[in-house]
Amino acid sequence: MQKHWALFLWMLKLDFKSQQTIMGVLVFGLSSIYAAYLLNGEIQDGTFLLSYWSIAALFAGVHSIQKDQFNAHNGSGSLYYQLTSPRMFATVKSIYNGLFLSVLFLFQWFMLLFYFGNDWTEIPNAFTLFLAICLIGMAMGISLSFVSGIAQKTNQPGGITAILSFAVLIPVLYAAVALMKKEALADPGQQAQWGWLLIIMMNLLPFGLSNLLYPYLWRD
């Protein structure tokens, strides 16, 4: 457990050391929301804003995974692959990415409120909204780690990341919009039980499978 924590901190340090990557992602998150404001001004349509938020989140997520692949390429991580077990690396990497994206999505959510005000929202329960955003971030981070783990071993990592991440992220987005409609707009026509189920499964499934997969991947 202690080793896990040390690895987690090391990842955090690595990201903060290379400031351009983390700043890049933050600026990306900010400007993606600001772009919508700049182009269209004071939109008050909740459904549109939520869709926009989820698409911006998708782009930020994919962008941050590309940052990951950069680091892997630089070779700064290869030492750690040897020091720790691949399974442990997979676990910590997934959780780290998940938490990173959760924070990023919360940041984007507050940016959305900052630019567009909060007249269009109707939040029945702030805690479940917070939980939903975090779960969406976790699901996206974990599934993207799973996908990039697979894609790095193929001939064209970039192309395969794009194809696989769409396959994996569409269910996440599908659940995300349903959850956010329920939690941020209090849309009475929206049912959310299946959304919770799907988002939790999209956390557990890639997490378990990447644990299964990584020992094979780092065998060579």
Binding site: T154, A167, W194, L198, L213
Partner: protein, 342 residues
């Protein structure tokens, strides 16, 4: 010859299914009435039936209006043919309910009805109102015909049950084969990778066929090619995920690595498929699909089991055909592998 007995069985089953699903008639039903407003006094109604025998049973034909749970009998004016007749109903100024249905009854066809929303002109609603009791004996659904159930909106397209639905069963069956093979691959049996990819590819073909046929069926019953139905979106996501599986395989050269990576992704895809197509649509109450979200399944209408006697063989027959195509696809994958190695 004996080795391929199941292929003959598949051909026989599918021949039976195609013939019977097209030749079995629909039982009689009510198609439409030409009235959208009822008023106090005399109302003349033209009733159009489907597969009915109004002219043949002219002497025993009776026409009714049901209001809530009570009945008013009309006077038959004119029977123009087997599918159309006119009757006249005299209505009082007060009725007990707004739920109106038009019935035609002959001993041979049983009761056929049209329930359409009608407006009220000059008629008050009083729920305590008692209409004069009449002897209808038409609450029985009995008729002397054997055939597929008649459903409003669906009409003849109920036959698609034997073609559209087995596509999905076959896909599940083939993806199941693929899943088992993937587990074997992860246990170290590399050669099973061929099985996994061949069955997934054929399963994908059946998925596409299911999507297209479903879309056509939806257009002429629900009114659009595509709706926000959880079952439809789930099927589309499953298609994307499995297409990604096939694309992923094409981009890895090393055989063992390809087998392992795609096996893990295949497990992911299968669990997602179960979740999206089996679990989720049952949790949502906005699905239009029969049997989902509280909609009656087809078995509800299938009183004389006419659908079942064709549907079960259809599922088995299509699954066997899918397996057959899978064996051909497997041959192709083996050949491709040998060519690659040589």
């Amino acid at each position: 010859m004996m080795k391929n007995w199941w292929k003959f069985l598949a051909v026989i089953l599918l021949t039976y299914v195609t013939l019977f699903s097209l030749l079995t008639p629909l039982v009689p039903g009510g198609l439409s009435v030409d009235i959208n407003e009822i008023r106090k006094g005399n109302n003349t109604i033209t009733f159009t039936g489907y597969n009915t025998h109004f002219l043949e049973d002219q002497s025993t034909l009776r026409g009714f209006i049901s209001i809530g749970t009570q009945w008013i009998e009309g006077k038959i004016l004119h029977v123009s043919d087997d599918a159309k007749f006119q009757f006249e109903v005299t209505l009082p100024d007060t009725l007990p309910s707004t739920q109106v249905a038009f019935y035609a009854y002959t001993p041979k066809d049983g009761a056929v009805y049209v329930s359409s929303a009608v407006g009220f002109n000059d008629i008050a609603i009083d729920e305590t109102k008692k209409l004069p009791e009449i002897q209808t004996n038409i609450d029985k659904e009995e008729h002397q015909h054997w055939g597929f159930p008649f459903q409003p909106i669906l009409f003849e397209t109920i036959r698609n049950l034997m073609f559209h639905v087995p596509m999905w069963f076959t896909m599940f069956f083939l993806m199941g084969i693929s899943l088992v093979a993937s587990f074997k691959v992860l246990n170290g049996k590399w050669d099973k990778d061929i099985v996994a990819v061949a069955s997934a590819k054929v399963g994908l073909v059946f998925c596409v066929l299911g999507l297209i046929t479903g879309s056509i069926w939806a257009r002429f019953t629900w009114g659009t090619w595509w709706t926000r139905d959880p079952q439809l979106n789930g099927a589309m996501i499953v298609f994307i995920v499995y297409a990604a599986y096939v694309l992923l395989r094409n981009s890895i050269e090393d055989e063992q690595k390809r087998a392992r990576l795609s096996a893990v992704f295949n497990i992911f895809a299968f669990i997602l498929m179960i979740l999206l197509l089996m679990v989720m649509p049952r949790m949502v109450d906005t699905s239009l699909h029969p049997g989902k979200s509280g909609n009656p399944a087809f078995s509800k209408y299938d009183l004389d089991s006419s659908l079942r006697t064709v549907f079960y063989p259809a599922v088995v027959g299509w699954a066997m055909l899918g397996y057959w195509i899978y064996t051909i696809q497997k041959k192709f994958e083996l050949l491709k592998q040998d060519n690659h190695a040589a």
